[in-house]
């Protein structure tokens, strides 16, 4: 398989160029080239959503992408965030503060083994960012959460708590309007 150059903006930093196989999947690139192992390989078939990363689009919107079925070169020249990019870090690079979603998932005991958690954090982040652009009516909140998280599989079945936590984050940030 031929190789080609690949670089991208990852969690706010430019990485690459690396010379990478044409058909390498993004999750392998994250694991093998960047040592970012927070994105989890679950099904490897696009079903479980454990592996999702966030793609930041030029128009300012963000979107979930499954890295197990998307080639690394798809992200060439693009802006990407993974689970490693959410928390604040101090000067030494140590995590000093979690983002509100991560914190709420912990407070709510939303996860058990945590295998699915990075995917859920990314999905909930995309949801929050969407609602920051356009707050949701209360009557539509559940539907929005279902749309955002509904495809994610948690083998420890933490669904109810994930949903509760997501709801509380969205409400806590004032992203719900009455109606």
């Amino acid at each position: 398989m031929a190789k080609r150059a690949l670089s991208m903006n990852l969690n706010g930093q430019v990485v690459g160029p690396f010379t990478v196989d044409d058909d390498l999947m993004m999750i392998e690139f994250l694991h093998e080239y960047l040592n970012l192992t927070g994105s989890r390989l679950g099904c490897g078939q696009g079903i479980c959503h454990a592996c999702v990363a966030i793609l930041d689009k030029p128009d300012g919107t963000s979107e979930e992408i499954r890295t197990c079925i998307t080639g690394a070169h798809f992200f060439d020249g693009k802006k990407v965030r993974t689970i490693e990019g959410h928390a604040k870090r101090d000067a030494k690079g140590e995590v000093s503060e979690l983002n509100p979603i991560q914190q709420k998932f912990i407070d709510q005991f939303a996860f058990q083994c945590s295998y699915c958690t990075p995917g859920y954090v990314n999905a909930a982040t995309v949801l929050v960012e969407k609602l920051q652009r356009q707050p949701v009516k209360r009557s539509e909140l559940e539907g929005e959460i279902e749309n955002a998280l509904g495809n994610h599989i948690c083998r420890c079945t933490g669904y109810v708590r994930y949903y509760n936590a997501a709801r509380e984050v969205v409400e806590g940030l004032g992203l719900v309007k009455e109606g």
Partner: protein
């Protein structure tokens, strides 16, 4: 004396039993025929009672609804006699003399055998009546004037004329009846004229329905796309074969109809379609990367980025996940319509007979711009489709602009 009495008592009982069992056989046969004719697909809605009607059929002329054909007296066909049923099915005429729309494929069913119609009638009459009104059909003028159908019928009603069966074997003949009449395959796989009538001279050469192509079923075209009699029979039985899987409008056909037919029927249908001496299937050797045209070479990277995760880099597919591209019949269609539409729309999760299933394929409309779509089509078609011509930018724009009507 006592014996005589008993005999007198037993005789009518025996006759009754014989009658009942012949009723049962008739109903069973009717059930089989109704399945072969796929009545349920149009006369039910998802999640609704079978045969109670309601399925909207979107046509270029407006929406026509499948009617209630349970024995309910008010909303169904409870008042129909076997004769009236036969007239409705084969001539498109309702009990009250009104005309049916040709969405009901009487143009094919006009060749239905009377005894088969009677068996279907007996089966439908054995179902529970369901008191559900059929939705009102909503057609644009002049098609909303049912009287107009009299005229249409004069022109087109009995147009399906079968190829003479002289010298053909029993299997071929049965296949012909299953394909042409009961299965009414030609209703989708034949182009229609401006008045919505099948173009008989182009019969089975492929039609477009709801934005997708129902591909040509002519033997030479099937062979060109890699079909053998065995594979075609497997496809009808299981919905999946080396050439790919059923999708779009063919998916319900598998689920309501063909999967239930006995294996002999699948063979018969395949034998009819490909002929008793089937043409040799064209086999295609995947074209190497170095031989690709410029656009296809660009498309290769899009394939690796967005498709290879499931369909595999060399197009081998992944069992129970995604079909192979290598050998896939859709890639070999001269027109890129279906390939483009599938990539844009995706395919819902598919359950096949037995334990086989395929995972949902997402739509990539928002991931590929027109140029990338064209490159990807060219890559797929050149590499595994054996097609040398390139898809033009105009064709991509045209297909994408043509909103599928569902």
């Amino acid at each position: 004396m006592r014996g005589l009495f008993l005999a007198a008592l037993l005789l009518p009982l025996a006759a009754q039993a014989a009658e009942q069992s012949s009723d049962k056989t008739l109903i069973e046969r009717g059930k089989y025929l109704a399945r072969a004719a796929d009545c349920v697909a149009c006369h039910s809605i998802e999640g609704g009672a079978e045969y109670a009607g309601g399925l909207p059929l979107v046509s270029p002329f407006g929406t026509i609804y499948g009617t209630n054909i349970t024995p309910d007296k008010e909303h169904g066909i409870g008042h129909y006699s076997a004769e009236e049923f036969y007239r409705a099915v084969t001539q498109g005429e309702r009990r009250d003399g009104g005309k049916l729309y040709p969405a009901m494929p009487y143009t094919s069913y006009h060749l239905l055998k009377r005894e088969d119609s009677d068996a279907i009638y007996a089966y439908l009459m054995s179902l529970d009546p369901i008191a559900k009104p059929s939705p009102k059909t909503d057609l644009a003028f002049p098609f909303n004037v049912r009287f107009g159908m009299t005229f249409w019928n004069m022109l087109y009603k009995n147009r399906v004329q079968l190829e003479p069966a002289d010298g053909k074997g029993e299997e071929w003949q049965r296949g012909q009846y299953l394909v042409e009449v009961l299965g009414h395959c030609g209703e989708c796989h034949t182009p229609r004229n401006a008045l919505g009538a099948l173009q008989q001279d182009l019969r089975m050469s492929g039609g477009v329905i709801l934005g997708y192509e129902a591909p040509s079923l002519l033997a030479k075209d099937l062979a060109e796309r890699g079909w053998t009699t065995d594979d075609l029979a497997t496809f009808l039985k299981h919905g999946i074969s080396d050439q790919g899987s059923v999708f779009n409008e063919m998916y319900p056909v598998l689920h309501h109809s063909t999967q239930y037919l006995p294996l002999d029927d699948h063979r018969a249908m395949a034998t009819y379609l490909l002929g008793e001496q089937p043409p040799a299937p064209r086999s295609i050797k995947a074209v190497a990367e170095s031989e690709l045209g410029e656009s296809a070479a660009r498309g290769r990277q899009d394939y690796l980025n967005l498709c290879a995760g499931c369909h595999e880099a060399a197009g081998k597919g992944v069992p129970h996940v995604a079909v192979a591209m290598d050998g896939n019949t859709t890639l070999r269609l001269a027109d890129s319509r279906n390939l483009l539409r599938v990539i844009d729309d995706g395919i819902r999760e598919q359950q096949f007979t037995g334990f086989e299933r395929m995972q949902p394929m997402p739509g990539f409309r928002d991931k590929l711009d027109d140029g990338q779509m064209r490159d990807l089509l060219n890559y797929l078609r050149q590499t595994w489709g054996g097609l040398e011509t390139e898809v033009t930018p105009e064709r991509v724009a045209e297909l994408r602009g043509e909103a599928p009507s569902h």
